[in-house]
Structures are given as structure tokens and as C-alpha cells.
């Protein structure tokens, strides 16, 4: 099967957050009690129950009071996925046939190494210490449906489909290069930006931390030699990132 992807076009996004709700609805994620912090953006960050969030970015504009950009934040479904690289628990993170990075809570050991391995700060842990994040609505796409966010988007700011043809389409619409086209082996969530990624609050050249790559090569195989995943995980964590602290998770 050819690789599937989402293309997100902030130029078309109207910030209505239909996608944020549709995601919660399909994935049956509970809501948090929030307060208004002086911005439309809410909750302030991704949570175990928030896989997709619209960030409201205000940047200066010459002709207008402000330039107001709406950018969806969620798992990027990297081809070369840092989270998968470092995850010591076999099968906890996996690639679906469509190319999405799926997760299996049953197999997750709660080590949170994936948090360190992710260049986009995406994985969150639920109350049972199991990974959660956008899985590109794996259950929907396996049945040939589009993800809930894309389905609900009124303007086509989130479009789902065959990755190559989406890229072709975007080129036709004047986007020479999409954000994430070549990064990390090619992202499964591509962005049609008119400006430098940093304007939208995204990193220019996202990369997996060196340490993750190192430990992926050296230590992770130990798990397969019989050391328990959890033991390896804490070892890796300790050596690579220091003692595990709760704050890191937050």
C-alpha cells in the first residue's frame, strides 16, 4: 500500500477547531477543566486526552493589525520515527500499513523514552502511564475512511490521501516544498507553509536527538538478548538523559 499522509494548510485553516472536537469525538477523549488564559488557544498544550490541538500564532503584519495563523499540532507520523527508535517495548509503537505510527497501550511499559525520542514533543502518558497520541485514526483509515479531523474540516485545510499525490497537488497549488517532505525520512503530516517554518512556530530542520540514535544502535538490542525492556529503558534513560523526573513528562 502506498504511504498515506495529511497535508495541513494554515492558509486555508479558519481556526474553527472542528478538528479538535472531531478528534475527541472519534477517539472518545475526555475534556479537561480549563480556564481562559487570555487566548483563544485552549488547552494550553497537548494532553493524554488531546491528540490534536490548534495553536493560535500571532505574528506581526505590515498591512494588518496582526497576522493570525492557525496551526494544527499533533503526531507527525515520521517515517524515521524517533519514538519507535528508542522504544524498548516490542510492539508498543508500530507502523500501520498506511504509514501511521500507531501505539498499543497493552505493550507500552510506561518508560517515557519516546518522549525524549520525539523531536516534536508529542507523546503524552495517560493516568495508567501508557502512551497516547494521534494515531492518524488508524481504525478509520484501515477501513478506507479519512481521519476524523480531515473529515470534519470545512475548508480542506486538513487533507488526507496518498502521500505522493498530496505532494503533487500541493506543488500544483504553488507550494514548491512542503514542510516535512524530506525531514526524518519524510513526515506523514506535511505542512503547506507560505513562510519559514519558524513563523508558524515550527523547527526548521527537525531531527532526532543524537543520543537517541546512539542508544538505539547500542543499547536497545540488549532488550532482545533477554534483559527486560523496563530495565533497559531505565538504563538508557539514566545514561542519556539523567535521572527520570516527573517534570520531564509534563
Amino acid at each position: 500500500m502506498s504511504r498515506k499522509a495529511l497535508v495541513i494548510s494554515p492558509e486555508l485553516c479558519i481556526g474553527c477547531r472542528g478538528c479538535q472536537t472531531a478528534c475527541k469525538s472519534w477517539n472518545q477523549l475526555s475534556a479537561a477543566k480549563t480556564t481562559n488564559k487570555g487566548t483563544v488557544e485552549n488547552p494550553p498544550d497537548l494532553t493524554p486526552n488531546l491528540y490534536n490541538k490548534i495553536r493560535y500564532v500571532e505574528v506581526p503584519s505590515e498591512s494588518n493589525p496582526v497576522r493570525w495563523l492557525f496551526v494544527s499540532q499533533r503526531c507527525m507520523h515520521c517515517d524515521d520515527a524517533g519514538c519507535m527508535k528508542i522504544c524498548p517495548a516490542p510492539g508498543a509503537l508500530f507502523k500501520t500499513k498506511e504509514g501511521a505510527v500507531g501505539f498499543d497501550k497493552e505493550k507500552c511499559i510506561g518508560c517515557k523514552l519516546c518522549v525524549a525520542g520525539c523531536p516534536f514533543n508529542i507523546p503524552r502518558y495517560d493516568e495508567k502511564d501508557k502512551i497516547t497520541k494521534c494515531n492518524l485514526c488508524s481504525d478509520r483509515i484501515a477501513e478506507g475512511l479519512e481521519p476524523a479531523c480531515a473529515k470534519t474540516c470545512p475548508t480542506g485545510a486538513i487533507s488526507y490521501g496518498d502521500r505522493n499525490s498530496l505532494i503533487g497537488k500541493a506543488q500544483g497549488a504553488g507550494y514548491q516544498k512542503l514542510y516535512g517532505e524530506a525531514d526524518l525520512g519524510g513526515l506523514g503530516v506535511l505542512y503547506a507553509f507560505k513562510d519559514a517554518p519558524k513563523v508558524y512556530g515550527m523547527e526548521e530542520n527537525p531531527a532526532i536527538p543524537e543520543s537517541v540514535i546512539f542508544w538505539h544502535k547500542v543499547l536497545k538490542p540488549l532488550a532482545y538478548w533477554g534483559l527486560g525492556g523496563a530495565v533497559v529503558a531505565s538504563l538508557v534513560h539514566y545514561v542519556a538523559f539523567g535521572p527520570k523526573k516527573d517534570e520531564e513528562v509534563k
Binding site: R17, S30, N36, K37, N42, F70, P154
Partner: protein, 847 residues
């Protein structure tokens, strides 16, 4: 909407003013963005605040709330000065060439008012607003548009006062922004360029609401944008079925299908028809409202059936009558309730304790009731008003009945969207608990009320006990066991009660069979042989070749010319016409102004599909009548709903002037109207609190304290407006109970510009108090660049804005805050009395 949602994709320029579609009508942005991306259309957003819609605009122009007519008047001036208008369209399809009474004078001559104003009654005598008539009784015309008394020249004179400098000083919009907007929108005056306008409550909720829209229709007529695909003037309705409820006479001054409500002076049906049916002596004018007699009679037959006979005037006497000058609009109703004039109140699918302007007064008004019935999905601030803030439950005698009703997916029926498209919807799930569809609740209510009238007689039982109410099988007690909504839809469509003939044909041709559903309103009769619950819906549930068809349930996907009209998808009133006034989309010879956007075109070689004989006719959308093009001997004018068949640039029908004139909101930041020294506010609005002097200052003891206002007063120095947000629905009764929506938008907020925040020492996220002459609310400060100070008449004017979707009752801990309508004033539009909640004055302080 003259057009429809999908049609927005056909526009070259889209002006969004008085609306915020990205937040309140997100799906419309699909078509707006399609026009922008695929046609290269320009999106212009004019709004006091940089909204989510503005974030998508090619041009954003900030404008102080309440200055729309100044802004649009400036555009009219610009179009005329730079000759951007579509001359052929203007001369042939509008009343621009008509000559007006030479005694007519405008506000430029009379310091703020038109001729005929009576200060005492606050009304105009419109004698001088009339057209000059020739010996045949037709308006005199000057097709060169040069006569100083012709509408075109009067228009020019009136708006010559709206110079760029003046407009900029009133609106606070920088001059270069004005020019950019005017130039871009003015570019649609060419036959192959079309512009559309989208508005909502941002235009209607002003003391000059009707005139805001009128100003835009003048622009659209000047530019030749009405009737064309991608054009028109389009009201974005605030609820999915508001169009339907208006069509079916939700408003006090109407009967279904926009027939005027009856009043005491119209003593019988003959008088009603004579007085209210517009007449024309022009053979080229269709004057569709000339059919009023057929529609009112068929309506009476629908509701009173066999009890409506020729002998009893078809039951006309049963219709409720308004007293002369009586007004039953929202503000007046609640004012009367406040004064203790009501015993009971049905709050049906609404939440006036939060949605009503001056909600504090509304809440007090509710305390005067003996009983209230609250029909809703949830209890709300209205049903529980007696335990709300500042209430003393022990002193309130109101008995409240809560009736739970079904949600839209728990019942079957039709729903009419802004584009007049009536779509049939099916029940998806059973209602929860004891909830019932509204129609079932009405059925129960009707049965009981009828029984009481039958038993006790009462003053006038006939109008109730004589209703047909044939909506299903009756039980032994006489009550309809289960209300069949299809029967309601059929009654609305109408029936032939006898065999009906076209008597103009020789020999008379049968056009309707007794007992069958009516084909459409063209076949309705004034003699009691047809029934029709709402003439504009005639044809929505009909019969073809003896087969009953619910046209609203159709789901055909065939399109015409790629314009997105989809004539086989559901059904659209009138007679499935997708674009109103489409005869104006062609030139007088019947050829489309823009062949690339052919809505209709005259086809002289057309063949009758059945007989294959030549039958010249129209191709495309359902035309505004089958008559040949206007230039033809038998041709007709395009604006068939107007008595003279012409688009009205000069509109003598309105209460406050034939041309829109800028007046300040009741509460505004300037001491006098920058255009005239004498009349600060619309001189014809109904005052709930007395004013005095040329600047309409509040009188001492001008009314009850609840209605007080403060204009140009340092105690309330900031302009405010209210709005909705994508995350909540209306007052939030549905969405505040929805945790996902609350997570995104949990609390009342107020958007404040950075400059004002700095002045007041307010930081982003601070809890502050917003107050007006009527009340106060707390809100979280959203300090932002999206609001910028305005330069108005050389002074700095700050504006703030806050939503009205919150209420004290839910969330239960009060964390949401309360409705912004606690701040809004008691004043309404001069024509409709729609409350002015979009421009008023407030103060802000750290809480």
C-alpha cells in the same frame, strides 16, 4: 439570501461586513476559500475587530462599530465619482431614472433629516418622497439620468457629503484602506465581474440596521450584482432553521409566506386584500404581490378548512388583529412584561435571560409572570431565572414548567437554510427520557386548549376550535395519537379542494384535480378552491403523474453549468429558484451579462420536451417567471416582487428615509453626529428612555432606570460590541453542557487592544469588570493586537468586544461568567426594532 451558500464560490469579490463567517458559519468558508483559491477572488473583511475571518482576508479594514452607513455611503460616492457603476443595468433594472417629487429634500439640506419629519410623532410624512407620475399613472423617467430630480442625481447629491475625509473621520478607517476596499469592490461594476456581500447580526443589530442593508443593496444595484451567480446580498442566518421559522411567520407582523399580519382597521378579507395588494399600471411589471388575495385565501382554507367558507369571509375574522400601530417585537414584549402586562410566557427553544438585549431587564421582567413554560433541551438561565443572581426566590411567584423537547436529530421534518433550501431530515435516534418533538408538544397543548374552549366557551372560541388540525389519526378522546409531520408539510404545500381550471385559457384548461396536492403557487386561487399553508412553499410536497413526491427529500446531484445550483438537491423556495431576481442576470435581450456565469438565458430555439414543437423559453435556473426577455413586446421587468418591477435605489417604503443616512448609535463616543449638528441618533427610532436636545442626551427621569443610556460620557468611555464564537452555540445552552466545547472556550472574556490595556494597567489573562449603564459582568482580559484604537473625529477611540454565550447557571460553579447582554441597551432599529447590541458604551476596570 438572494443567492445560496455554494454560490459564493462564483464571486470575484466577497465583502464580509456585519458578519464573521469563519466563526459563526464555518462551512461557508469552504466556498469563500474556494473562490479565493480557484478563481483568485478577493476577500474583503470590514470589522471593528480582526476576526478569524479577517485572518483569511486579502483586505482587512477596521471600522468603528455603528459606522457602517458612513463606510458604505463613502463607497457609493466613490462608485459614482469614478463612474464604476454598470450603467445599462442601473438605467434599465433600477428606479435610478425615476423622477422624485421636486419638494423632496435630504439631510444635506435639512441638517440631518429628510423632508416631512414630524418631531412630535418621530415619524415622516412621506408625501415628498413620492415619484412623479405621468398621465398613465406610471413613474416619470429620465433615461439619461441627468434630471436633477431623478433618483440617480439625488443619490449623487446625497452621498457627495460622504467624502473620504469625512468617512474616515467617522469610521476610524484609514483613508487608504477605504480606497483599497472601494476600488476592489467597485471593480465588480463590469458585466464580467461579480461581487457578493455576506452579512449577519453585525448589520441588523443597530438602530440603523435596515438601512445598513439598504445601503448595500444600492451598491449591488449600482454595480449590477443582483441576480447574478456570485452576486446578491446574502444574510447568513444565525441558526440552521431561522430562515424556515421566518418564512413560517415567527415574527409578529407577518403571516406565513410574508403576508402582512392582519390589523384591526382591515375589517374584512376584502379590505385586507384591497389595502395590502400592491398595484401597477405598467403592463411590463409582473407585480407578483398582486396575487396576495390568492395566498391569503388559500392560507385561511388551509388552517380553517371546511370552516372557512365564502359566507364567513373564509374565517378572516378568526385571525388575530394588531391594533393600529401596535408593535409586538422583542423589546416591546419584554418592556410590557417588565411593566407587568403579561400573565404567562412560553420560552420555546430560546434563552431570553441571556440572549435578550438588556438581559438584566429581561430577567426582572420574568419575575412579573404568573407562569412560564420553558421548552428546551436543558434547563437554562430563563427557566431558573428565579434563583439567579440578585433574585429573591421567596418574593417571586412565577410557576415554571419545564418541558423537555427533542433535539434536531431526534425528530423528522424539514429545515430551511439561509439559501432558502428546504431539506428533509430524518430521525436518527429516539428522544431521551420524556423529551418529545416540538410538534408533539404543540399537539398536546392544542388538544387541551381546545377542550377548555369547548367546555368553557370563553370570549372567542371559534378561532381555536375551528382549526383543521388534520395531522394524524384521532383516538377516542379526539386527540391525534401521533402527529404525522408529513401531513403538516402537505398542508403547507397546499391542496386542490375542487377541480381547478385556468380560466384565461379558451376553453378553460384543468390545472388541478380535486383532492390532489397543489403543483405550485401559480395554480392557487382566491375563491376558496385551493388551500395552502404557506404559498412560498407550494411545490415542496407535491404530486407528479399521481405520485406524491416530497421534493425536499430529493438528493439528486446534477448541476447546471458548474455553478453549484444543484436543482435536484432538495427544494428551494420559490418554485425551486436557486438565485432570486435571476432575470437581472441577463441583458434586456435575454443574454447573460456574463456568459461564463449563465444562470438563465433565453433560448428562442427551445423545443417543448413533450410535443417537440418550437416553444421559446429560458434555459438554466427556474426564471423569475416564464415571460420573454424584457426587450420583447411581451417581456417583463426583472424585479418581480416589486410593484414597479425595478430594483429600488430610492426606497420610500422605509421608516427612516429613502436613502440610508449615517446616524450614531444610541450610545456612542462622539457628542454630535459628524454629518449633521441636529440629529445624533436615528430620528425615527422608538425611544424607551427619553432624550433631550440636538445631541439626544438622556432626559432627566426619561424612563425606568433599567433603560438608562450614557452617550459620550466619561463614565463609559469605550465602544463595545458583542459576538458569538465558533465554540459555542447562541447563549451556549447546548454547548456549555458539552465538555469538549467548554474545554476550548471555558470563560467569559473581553478582547482589549494593547494600547487600552496599557493605559488601564490590565494584563493579558487578568480578571476584569466590564460595565455599562445597565449592568456589569466579569471577564478575562484578552489583550491583543486584534483590536486597535480608532481615530474618530481627531480623537482616539478604543473599542472592546465580548461574547454573549455564557450564563450564570451552567457551569454550576459559575466559572463561565454571565451574558454580555447584561450590558446592552434597550433600543432597536427604526424599521424592525431589532435591538442595538452591536454598538454601545462601556467601562472596564480591574476586578
Amino acid at each position: 439570501m438572494t443567492n445560496h451558500w455554494i454560490d459564493v464560490k462564483n464571486a470575484d469579490v466577497i465583502l464580509v461586513m456585519g458578519a464573521n463567517p469563519a466563526e459563526n458559519h464555518p462551512i461557508s468558508m469552504k466556498w469563500i476559500m474556494q473562490a479565493r483559491e480557484q478563481r483568485g477572488a478577493k476577500l474583503i473583511v470590514v470589522d471593528p475587530r480582526f476576526t478569524r475571518t479577517a485572518s483569511k482576508a486579502n483586505i482587512y479594514a477596521p471600522m468603528r462599530s455603528g459606522a457602517d452607513i458612513a463606510f458604505l455611503g463613502g463607497m457609493i460616492n466613490y462608485i459614482l465619482k469614478n463612474r464604476l457603476y454598470f450603467r445599462e443595468y442601473v438605467a434599465n433594472y433600477t428606479n435610478a431614472a425615476y423622477l422624485v417629487n421636486p419638494d423632496f429634500k435630504g439631510p444635506g439640506q435639512l441638517d440631518g433629516i429628510f423632508s416631512g419629519y414630524d418631531e412630535k410623532t418621530r415619524k415622516y410624512d412621506k408625501k415628498t418622497w413620492a415619484f412623479q407620475l405621468d398621465e398613465k399613472g406610471l413613474p416619470k423617467k429620465d433615461m439619461t439620468l441627468k434630471d436633477p430630480n431623478c433618483v440617480f442625481q439625488l443619490l449623487r447629491k446625497h452621498y457627495s457629503r460622504y467624502t473620504l475625509d469625512k468617512v474616515s473621520a467617522i469610521t476610524g478607517t484609514p483613508k487608504e484602506k477605504l480606497v483599497e476596499v472601494y476600488k476592489t469592490y467597485g471593480s465588480t461594476g463590469k458585466p464580467n465581474r461579480v461581487g457578493t456581500e455576506l452579512y449577519a447580526m453585525g448589520w441588523t443589530q443597530h438602530t440603523v440596521g435596515t438601512q445598513n442593508i439598504k445601503a448595500m443593496t444600492i451598491i449591488q444595484l449600482l454595480l449590477g450584482n443582483i441576480g447574478l451567480a456570485g452576486g446578491g446580498i446574502n444574510a447568513l442566518r444565525g441558526e440552521s432553521n431561522v430562515q424556515g421559522s421566518t418564512d413560517h411567520a415567527l415574527l409578529f407582523h407577518l403571516l406565513p409566506g410574508y403576508l402582512p399580519a392582519s390589523k384591526a382597521s382591515l375589517v374584512d378579507l376584502k379590505t385586507y386584500i384591497e389595502k395590502l395588494t400592491p398595484k401597477t399600471k405598467d403592463p411590463k411589471s409582473v407585480n407578483w404581490w398582486g396575487n396576495r388575495g390568492k395566498y391569503i385565501t388559500s392560507y385561511l382554507k388551509a388552517i380553517y378548512g371546511g370552516n372557512a367558507t365564502k359566507d364567513n369571509d373564509f374565517g378572516y375574522a378568526y385571525l388575530p388583529k394588531l391594533n393600529e400601530g401596535q408593535n409586538g417585537s422583542w423589546l416591546v414584549l419584554f418592556d410590557q412584561m417588565f411593566k407587568g402586562k403579561f400573565e404567562g410566557f412560553f420560552a420555546w427553544g430560546q434563552n431570553p435571560a441571556c440572549s435578550g438585549a438588556n438581559a438584566g431587564k429581561v430577567r426582572k421582567a420574568l419575575t412579573t409572570l404568573k407562569w412560564m413554560v420553558n421548552v428546551n433541551l436543558f434547563d437554562n438561565e430563563t427557566g431558573s431565572f428565579w434563583k439567579g443572581p440578585d433574585m429573591k426566590p421567596q418574593e417571586i411567584q412565577t410557576e415554571v414548567f419545564q418541558l423537555p423537547c427533542s433535539s434536531s436529530v431526534e425528530k423528522e421534518g424539514s429545515l430551511t437554510n439561509s439559501g432558502r433550501l428546504a431539506q428533509w431530515r430524518y430521525k436518527a435516534v429516539e428522544p431521551i427520557g420524556e423529551a418529545r418533538p416540538d410538534s408533539e408538544i404543540m399537539n398536546e397543548l392544542y388538544f387541551r386548549v381546545k377542550k377548555l374552549y369547548q367546555k368553557q366557551g370563553g370570549k372567542f372560541p371559534a378561532p381555536i376550535i375551528n382549526l383543521t388540525w388534520n395531522y394524524g389519526e384521532k383516538g377516542a378522546d379526539g386527540k391525534i395519537k401521533k402527529l404525522d409531520i408529513h401531513r403538516v408539510a402537505k398542508e403547507i404545500n397546499g391542496y386542490y379542494l375542487e377541480d381547478v381550471f385556468d380560466k384565461k385559457a379558451a376553453p378553460p384548461k384543468q390545472i388541478g384535480k380535486k383532492g390532489h396536492l397543489a403543483t405550485n403557487f401559480v395554480t392557487l386561487q382566491a375563491d376558496g378552491t385551493t388551500s395552502c399553508g404557506n404559498w412560498i412553499y407550494s411545490g415542496s410536497y407535491t404530486e407528479k403523474e399521481d405520485k406524491v413526491i416530497n421534493m425536499m427529500a430529493r438528493r439528486g446531484k446534477k448541476d447546471i453549468g458548474g455553478l453549484g445550483m444543484y436543482p435536484e438537491w432538495a427544494w428551494c423556495w420559490p418554485v425551486n429558484r436557486r438565485i432570486l431576481y435571476n432575470r437581472a442576470s441577463v441583458n434586456p435581450d435575454g443574454k447573460p451579462w456574463d456568459p461564463k456565469r449563465t444562470v438563465i438565458k433565453w433560448n428562442p430555439n427551445k423545443l417543448d420536451p413533450k410535443t417537440k414543437k418550437p416553444a421559446p423559453g429560458w434555459d438554466g435556473d427556474v426564471p423569475d417567471g416564464p415571460a420573454p426577455p424584457m426587450a420583447d413586446e411581451k417581456g417583463k421587468y426583472p424585479f418581480i416582487m416589486r410593484a414597479d418591477g425595478m430594483g429600488a435605489i430610492f426606497g420610500p417604503g422605509l421608516a427612516d428615509g429613502p436613502f440610508p443616512e449615517h446616524y450614531e448609535p444610541l450610545e456612542c463616543p462622539v457628542q454630535e453626529n459628524p454629518l449633521s449638528k441636529k440629529h445624533r441618533i436615528n430620528p425615527t427610532v422608538k425611544l424607551f428612555y427619553g432624550t433631550t436636545g440636538p445631541h439626544d442626551e438622556p432626559k432627566k427621569e426619561g424612563g425606568s432606570a433599567e433603560d438608562i443610556f450614557y452617550s459620550c460620557d466619561i463614565r463609559f468611555p469605550y465602544v463595545a460590541t458583542t459576538y458569538r464564537v465558533s465554540e459555542h452555540w447562541q447563549t451556549g445552552v447546548l454547548t456549555r453542557h458539552e465538555p469538549w466545547q467548554m474545554e476550548m472556550m471555558p470563560q467569559q472574556f473581553v478582547e482589549i487592544g494593547k494600547e487600552l490595556a496599557a493605559e488601564k494597567g490590565i494584563k493579558n489573562g487578568d480578571k476584569i469588570t466590564v460595565s455599562s449603564g445597565r449592568g456589569k459582568v466579569w471577564a478575562i482580559a484578552m489583550v491583543t493586537d486584534r483590536f486597535k484604537p480608532f481615530k474618530v473625529m481627531n480623537a482616539t477611540v478604543h473599542q472592546v468586544g465580548l461574547p454573549w454565550c455564557f450564563g450564570w447557571q451552567y457551569p454550576e460553579n459559575g466559572s463561565g461568567g454571565d451574558s454580555a447582554n447584561l450590558l446592552t441597551p434597550t433600543i432597536g432599529d427604526a424599521n424592525t426594532l431589532i435591538p442595538e447590541t452591536k454598538a454601545f458604551m462601556v467601562n472596564i476596570e480591574k476586578a
